[in-house]
Structure formats: C-alpha cells, structure tokens
C-alpha cells in the first residue's frame, strides 16, 4: 500500500510499488521490526514469562537455603561453609535461569513454529536474509535471558534463612561482560535445539539433554570442588562436565558474584566465545535448512 488518501468520501488505497530499497536498508528495518514483534509478544505473555522464569530458581534457593537449614540438613556443612554454598548456589541459579530462557524463549517456540503451525514462513518472507531472522531470534532470546537474570538475582539473593549469611562480592567488569555473553550463548543453544528437534522429540530434549546439563551444570557446586571425584587418580567427573556449556556460564557467574574459587577466567571467556560461535553456526545453518529447500 503505497499511499492512503481520501477520495470520493472514502479512503482509497493505491497500490503503486515503490522501487525496492537496498537490501541492507530493508534488512535493518525488518530486523528491528522482528525484534519489536518478539518484545511485544513477550509483553503480552508476561503472565507466563514471570512464573516460568521465577519458579525454578525460587524453589532451588527455597529448598537448599531455607528448608534444608530449617530441618537441620545443612548442605556444605554449617556456618562459613554454608554461607559459601549459598553464594555458590545463587550464582548457579542465575546461570541456570539464563540457560532456561534459551530453551523456553527460543527453542520451544521455534519447535512449534516449524512444526504444525508453520507460522515462521511469514517472517521468512520479510525482506531480509533468512539468516538474520535466526539472529533476530537469538537477540530476542538473549534479551529475555537478561531480563530473567535481573528478576532472578534479587530473589535468589534474598530467599534464605537468617542464619545463612550470604556474602556476595560483585566483580562488575566480569558481571557486565558475562551477562550478555551467557545470554547470547544460551539463546544460540536454544536456536540449535529449536531447529534440530521436532515436536515429538521435545520430551527427549528435556529428559536426555536438558536434565543432565542442569544436574551436571555446576548449579549446586563449584567446578573446582569436583576434583576429589576420582577413579584411579583421574578426576573423571570434573573432566567430563567440561563438555557441558552450562559449566562455563555458572562458573562465570561465580567469578562475577562471589569471592570463592572458580575456573580461571582465561578459560571461561574463550570457551564461551567459542560455544557462542559454534551454536550460532549450527543454529543458523539449522534454521536455513528448515526454512529453505
């Protein structure tokens, strides 16, 4: 619709195609509009977004830092060790929430859109290259990850029995780089899952992939603390979990939020950047593969 004008008492639309804008300009405009669309949908679904974001971290800190101390089951030993555990858990919970946003905000809707609804077609026909539609999904997912972290952190930091003294030490430079990096990485992971799994395979995604990732993802303990789990002098668990991308997120937040020991930052950053690149690559390829034949 090129212009709308009033003619003979009623509005008349004149269809007169304008010469196409350059690919770059059209793509940038469409990209911004796609993001806006995702944020509008987020606003409309806040009633789902907030419980799904808040509940799991809340339950984790509630059980470990409130119920357990109350019933005399202290995790990590009493006193100072307990305070340390609390700090470890808060960092882990923030990392876990961002990871879950990647799954819930990117992977699951995408599985649905590729599946029976096919509604992604409409956005694929918007005037921008197909790969940028996938990037738009990652950016929108990452924004949701950041919002999730912002909601979860205060909850995780507040819910505990008074006896547990949570001592957080915020390293701002680490925190402010870790937040976007982790959010993008997890959203890209979501894109990879979303383009590789069919609707009927979602239970497998949760049962076989997400579950071990979260349990062995350093949420409840620090990676450095795994060293004593050994067979024949080899810290096998500590080695195996290195393949789990969530490890670097939770260790990263441990480095950002606590004074406790953590995996060295010179390992965390490059590995996370590498995972970002890998997941973006697999995700974008998967996306192209799904929408173009």
């Amino acid at each position: 619709m090129d212009e709308l004008d009033t003619h003979a008492g009623r509005t008349e639309a004149r269809v007169a195609p304008s010469p196409p804008r350059s690919s770059a300009r059209a793509s940038w405009t469409a990209f911004k509009a796609l993001l806006l669309r995702d944020l509008v949908v987020l606003r409309k679904t806040l009633n789902i977004f907030i419980p799904r974001t808040v509940l799991q971290p809340f339950l984790l800190v509630f059980v470990f830092l409130y119920v357990f101390p109350k019933i005399g089951e202290s995790v990590g030993g009493g006193g100072r060790a307990e305070a340390q555990f609390a700090a470890v858990l808060v960092a882990g919970v923030v990392g876990l929430s961002i990871m879950f946003q990647g799954i819930q905000a990117v992977a699951l809707p995408m599985v649905q859109e590729f599946g029976y609804t096919k509604e992604i077609e409409d956005r694929v026909l918007a005037p921008l290259p197909v790969w940028t539609v996938a990037v738009g999904k990652v950016v929108a997912g990452a924004i949701q990850g950041l919002i999730a972290a912002a909601i979860v952190f205060p909850i995780a930091a507040v819910v505990h029995v008074p006896q547990v003294s949570l001592s957080l030490t915020v390293h701002w430079a680490v925190l402010l780089t870790m937040l976007p990096l982790a959010s993008i990485m997890c959203a890209a992971l979501g894109l990879t899952f979303g383009t590789r799994f069919e609707t009927r395979q979602v239970p497998i995604l949760f049962g076989v992939i997400i579950l071990p990732m979260t349990f062995l993802g350093d949420t409840y303990y620090a990676w450095t603390a795994l060293a004593p789990v050994k067979v024949l002098g080899w810290s096998w668990l500590q080695t195996i979990v290195l393949f789990n991308p969530l490890i670097y997120v939770t260790e990263g937040f441990r480095a950002a939020l606590t004074g406790s020991t953590h995996m060295p930052l010179y390992v965390i950053y490059p590995v996370m950047v590498a995972f970002c690149a890998l997941f973006l690559w697999t995700g974008i390829n998967g996306f192209r593969h799904r929408v173009l034949t």
């Binding site: 709308l4 509005t11 304008s18 059209a26 469409a30 077609e121 409409d122 026909l125």
Partner: protein, 317 residues
Amino acid sequence: MADPQSVICCQQLSKQYPGGILAVDRLDLSVFPGEVFGLLGPNGAGKTTTAGMLTTRVIPTGGRALVAGIDVVAHPAMAKQLIGVVPQTNTLDRSLTVRENLYFHGLFFGMGTKRARAAADYLLEQFRLADRANMPVAALSGGMAQRLMAARAIMHGPSVLFLDEPTAGLDPQSRIALWDILGELRDRGPTIFLSTHNMEEADQHCDRVAIMDRGRILAMNTPRALKASVGADTVVIVTTAGDATGLAQHLEQGVTGAMRSQMVGGKIHLHVGGVSGVLPQVVAIADDQGITVTDLSVVEPSLETVFINLTGRELRD
C-alpha cells in the same frame, strides 16, 4: 524463450530435491505486468515448488528466476520487497491479534508505525475483518484467515502477488468471497501469479494459463485458446459396465461429428464437433451393440479436457 522484460521470468528453471525427485524441469515462463497468470496442474505437478522458487523459499538447482528484473536467488531480500504471498496453509502469527498481524507486516516492510496502523485499519475494513481486529487469529474461521492473509500479502504494495492454492480447503461460500476480493485487487495493478489444481478457478480468473504436469509446462495460452485447441464443441462422457473400448470405437465411427475418443478413468470421453442430437445417437449405438450405458453426460470442453488431451489423465487423480 522467456522474455526478460516480463514481471516474472523463468529461464530453464529447475529444482531437483535431494533424493533425486525432479520437481521442476527446465521451466521457461514469462508473466507480463498486470496479468493474472495461472499455473494449473494436479498435486505434485511442481506448482508449489515453482511458486516457492519465485518467492525465495526454494533454492533452484538450475536456471534463473527474475521477479521485476531482480534475480531471486542472488538478491532475495531485494526481491522479497516486491512480492506478496498468500500461502496454502495458515501462516498467520498466532501470538498476535488480527490487527497486529497486519501492523507488524507493515513494519517488516519498512512502513512507519503511523502508516502501518492506518493501512492495517483500512485493510481490515476492506476485507471485512474490522469487527475481529483485536481477536487472536485462532478465533478466525478458515475463510477469514485466508482473507487476512490476502490483506497481509497486498499490504506493502507488491508488484507481484503469489497465490498458492488460495482456496484449497475453503467452503464454497468463502471461496466466492475470497475471489470477490481478489477480483477487486486485480483491478488495482499487481500482477497475480496463481497456482491451482482447480480448473474452474484458472478458467474464470486467469488471463493466461500454463498447464503443468510432472515438472514441465505442457501448454500455455489464454483459457479460451487452450479450450479451442481441443477442437471439439462437446465432450460426451459415457460410463458403461460392458466393453467400453469396443463401444468407444463404434461411437467414434457412428456419431455424427465425432472426432476422437479417449478412455479416462474407465470412462469414454467422446469429442464431438457440433452439439445437437448427439445423445440419442450414443444411446442408439450402445443399444445396437447390446451394451448397457449406466451414466451419460455432456460437457463443454474445459481446461480439464485440455489436460486430459495432453496427459491422458484427469486433473484430480
């Protein structure tokens, strides 16, 4: 050879899917500005693949496709600005309301917020969806969803509008309503590319029709010229429980003006020049042969007849 000045231009366009299926086989095609062009063929003929290639969603394995002079493979983002698509399945954004579906489509295509809002409201009015503007799209009936997709497709003022089986799955009333709207649209300028297996639709609404089967175009002309190419004025369709092949031969020889007969799906299709007095002759000849005719009908040659002539098969098989 395809004309490079046309709005849609395919040159030796081919698509072979992984696994070896050749869906579209060296297609040459030109569609001219303002034309309503129909691609008619049975399911699996390659129509949707052809439309898919022209709308950048299917990557050709050979040849070239230009829309408004833009190579759709080399510059998809540019080409997508110039096309509107009414797809076969409901691809409305279920997370958004009816109005938002149009509004965001406008934004995707570079409209300002104010203009997108005005255009959305105008189209909702025009497509008789205004009373549903704030409902989720899940609340729309099939016909309404299709109207909304048509509104969405024209919103950004495309040069070419692609309609892929637009009325498949619609009840007759919605079908008529949609064509009323599409009929208004065609007066306003965009070239329309329709793919359909519905021969009445192709006949009624298209300026030119290409008949497609197994990835190839078999004939391309105006519906009138295509039908005239059959050469007959009447097609008599005879169903019999007896020896159909034998009866067909007798009819060809005995009926005045009979030109040829074909066996289609077990029925005799007898092409006759001239109309009057045909049926009594058919019944008399069958009686003479002692063959019982269980059903008898007379039709004018249609695009279906053309298709049968070209392929020996019915359009819907």
